[in-house]
């Protein structure tokens, strides 16, 4: 069974069509990179997968682990194992970072009929994970993303991902705004989750991320559709040559 099947997906925002007939199949264990010029619909795809409600799906379907994803509320998708690392993580003043994460983990576990994790086990888990992400202890006490630098926010997203252990992780430009060292930490975190049963979709502009998290497939999204697919060598080619040749090629077809 596929992890994710997107068939002929059309999505519009405020009457503008952003995705126009997108197809994508992701099998368990695969990592897919989605690249493409600005405004091609990469982030729209990520938001639609997570269930953001101001995107309207006008045609097509998305099947996630055999279920109709479009029928599921955002929290149901999360409990079923879909995780989105946000391009712009949201600040929630006064809400403790650790508290949100524990509430989220236990909400997901309840929804799956699993026992909740007690405070003691949770603290052990989060402390270990914070070491992986090289985050200082003080993160435990801070409010969700409030006053975080761009890099800290991205690290925090990956921290949440490592704790929630999703079966499908969608990372929306998690590499943007990171310096080389931070990028390595984030990539190591993501790589530690690689597993034959777990899939990932990396939305990115830059090939440098894909040197650290090596994808099985690279897709170019343009004009609302995937216009070219290949392996990691495609990413290198795009880095060297830009997107124009792909777009020309696509128009010629």
């Amino acid at each position: 069974m596929s992890m994710l099947d997107i068939r002929n997906l059309y999505v519009s925002v405020d009457g503008n069509e952003i995705l126009e007939g997108l197809d994508l199949t992701v099998r368990p264990g695969e990592i897919h990179a989605i690249m493409g010029p600005n405004g091609s619909g990469k982030s729209t795809l990520a938001q639609v997968l997570a269930g953001r409600d101001n995107y309207s799906v006008t045609r097509g379907e998305i099947v996630f682990q055999g279920r109709n994803l479009l029928d599921m509320a955002p929290e149901e998708r999360a409990a079923a194992g879909l995780f989105l690392a946000f391009q712009y993580p949201i600040e929630i003043p006064g809400v403790n970072n650790t508290y949100l994460l524990k509430a989220a983990l236990n909400a997901q576990r309840r929804a799956r009929g699993e026992p909740e994790v007690d405070a003691f086990d949770f603290m052990r888990l989060i402390r270990e994970t914070m070491k992986t992400m090289q985050m200082p202890e003080e993160f435990l006490q801070r409010s969700v993303n409030e006053g975080f630098s761009g890099g800290e926010k991205k690290r925090n997203e990956v921290l949440q991902m490592l704790v929630l252990k999703p079966s499908l992780a969608v990372l929306d430009e998690t590499d943007s705004g990171l310096d080389v060292d931070a990028l390595k930490v984030v990539a190591a975190g993501v790589n530690s989750l690689r597993d034959p049963q777990r899939s990932m979709i990396l939305v990115t502009h830059y090939e440098r991320l894909l040197e650290l998290i090596v994808p099985d497939f690279v897709h170019v999204l343009a004009g609302g559709r995937i216009v070219k697919s290949g392996d990691k060598s495609l990413a290198r080619e795009l880095d060297a040559r830009g997107y124009d040749w792909v777009l020309k090629e696509a128009r010629a077809v």
Binding site: P74, L84, I92, V95, A104, A111
Partner: protein
């Protein structure tokens, strides 16, 4: 209307969990207010002459006063002749008795409200005075408190057993002429709690009063007086509920606090009067005067309120910082959901030197609710080196509610320092979506965000009540968000 706001409209439905009526025989005087009614109340309570006279004077003055209209609230005029000013369960001839003698129906009522008087008496370290309509029906732990010299009893009881203390302090913080509702209360108040903490005593347990309105077409006019003598310390909490009724009921209370040298009073309120239904029908008019007098040096009065109930709230718990080095604090969470209107805040009057005050106000508006913060910070010329810090935050849920802020700052002392910070924010779709993407339901996400917003106030509630307040808040906002 976007899908988001349709959802909000669908979801703005609140469940009020304390809306039942206790079927109990009550002695209720006919509606109407004149000198005769006041004499009748005074006679029913067996009051000394000074108090009857005090009431009559207040009534005389009240008749010359006009109902205030400056608050940012709207309501149909109150017919003061249509209200009954006294109602008491007949099984309770005035004096609160030991719990064994209290009418089982009343005990059952408090059980249903989650305040099992027997259980509290046995287990929890909280002494309760239970006020049912016009009278106190039970006060727990009196003997244990008496061992420490603490007087904790109903106001009526205090008038009989400690008339000298009542006469010495009554009306010294909120004079009978203070304002329209305080004058009315002074004329017709029926019961409430009285607390006296002697010199140097740290009250060994939390004290609390639980106010319950039961009878229809009555008003509740309680009066609470807390005196903390030199070097003493007390923490007091009040809670309030009422049945669900279509008509509005008036609750006009007065609370007076007196803190002498080095004394400290911490007064917490969890106000959950019936707020009316989702169309704004019914609910309590909560017109309350609360004031603390930091009369002594280095005394401290701290108000913490969580206001989730009432159709209309008009309430400004204040501190008069008379003693040098005295400290006043006000921490407030006020919720206005559906058609609730809240005009609430505080006054910090700095008179003594080196007086300090802190105001943290968190207003939450949802549905068609209107929430106003109204605050006064005044430094008199005698208040050398006075300091105030005010933080006033409003949170809007949905797009049909309102938040308003009316801060007044009057400084007549150049060495004083006032800081005022204010923010208005909405629970954003982004925040909700972020939480839901992590697995939280929409309701849980709202509660999480609102609790985060209120955290700096909840921190100041006594431990047992912080949890209660959080739960209450989640019930109050149940379904308030899309």
């Amino acid at each position: 209307m976007s899908s988001e706001s349709t959802q909000i409209a669908d979801l703005v439905k609140r469940k009020y969990q304390h809306g039942f009526v206790t079927d109990i025989e009550q002695d209720t005087v006919p509606p109407g207010l004149d000198e005769g009614v006041i004499r009748l109340i005074s006679a029913k309570k067996g009051e000394p002459a000074f108090l009857t006279q005090w009431r009559l004077k207040a009534f005389e003055h009240w008749q010359t006063m006009e109902e205030p209209t400056w608050a940012h609230v709207r309501y149909t005029p109150i017919d003061y002749q249509a209200i009954s000013y006294y109602s008491a369960p007949t099984s309770n001839p005035n004096a609160p008795k030991s719990l064994d003698e209290v009418d089982p129906k009343l005990l059952e009522t408090y059980d249903k409200l989650g305040i099992p008087l027997h259980e509290r008496a046995r287990l929890a370290g909280v002494a309760v005075d239970a006020v049912f309509d016009s009278v106190s029906v039970a006060t727990t732990f009196r003997e244990k408190l008496a061992e420490a010299g603490v007087i904790f009893c109903s106001f009526s009881d205090a008038v009989r057993s400690h008339p000298e203390l009542v006469e010495q302090y009554l009306g010294t913080v909120v004079p009978t002429r203070d304002n329209f509702f305080a004058a009315l209360n002074s004329a017709v108040f029926t019961d409430g709690s009285f607390v006296y903490i002697p010199k140097g005593v740290r009250c060994p347990m939390e004290l609390s009063t639980y106010f319950r309105i039961n009878a229809a077409k009555t008003g509740q006019f309680e009066r609470t007086l807390i005196v903390a003598d030199e070097g003493s310390h007390v923490s007091y909490l009040e809670g309030c509920t009422a049945p669900m009724r279509d008509e509005n009921q008036l609750h006009a209370a007065v609370v007076e606090l007196v803190a002498l040298d080095d004394a400290e009073i911490k007064y917490s309120t969890v106000q959950n009067w019936y707020p009316g239904d989702e169309n704004g029908v019914g609910g309590i008019y909560n017109f309350v005067t609360k004031r603390g007098d930091c009369r002594g040096r280095n005394s401290k009065i701290s108000w913490t309120q969580v206001e989730t109930g009432s159709a209309i709230t008009w309430k400004y718990p204040s501190c008069v910082l008379r003693g040098d080095g005295s400290v006043g604090e006000f921490y407030s969470v006020a919720v206005a959901n559906n058609y609730q209107q809240a005009d609430t805040g505080t006054k910090m009057i700095h008179i003594g030197r080196n007086t300090r005050s802190t105001i943290i106000s968190k207003g939450i508006s949802a549905g068609h609710g209107q929430n106003s913060y109204r605050g006064l910070v005044r430094f008199l010329p005698t208040a050398k080196n006075a300091r105030n810090y005010t933080q006033c935050d409003s949170l809007l849920i949905g797009d049909e509610c309102g938040a308003h802020t009316f801060p007044y700052i009057e400084s007549r002392e150049p060495s004083g320092r006032v800081e005022h910070e204010a923010t208005t924010s909405k629970i954003s779709d982004d925040q909700l979506f972020y939480c839901r993407q992590r697995g939280l339901s929409e309701e849980d996400a709202v509660n999480l965000i609102v609790n985060g917003f209120c955290r700096s106030v909840f921190r100041n509630l006594p431990m047992e009540f912080a949890v209660e307040a959080q739960n209450l808040l989640s019930v109050s906002l149940e379904g308030a968000v899309g």
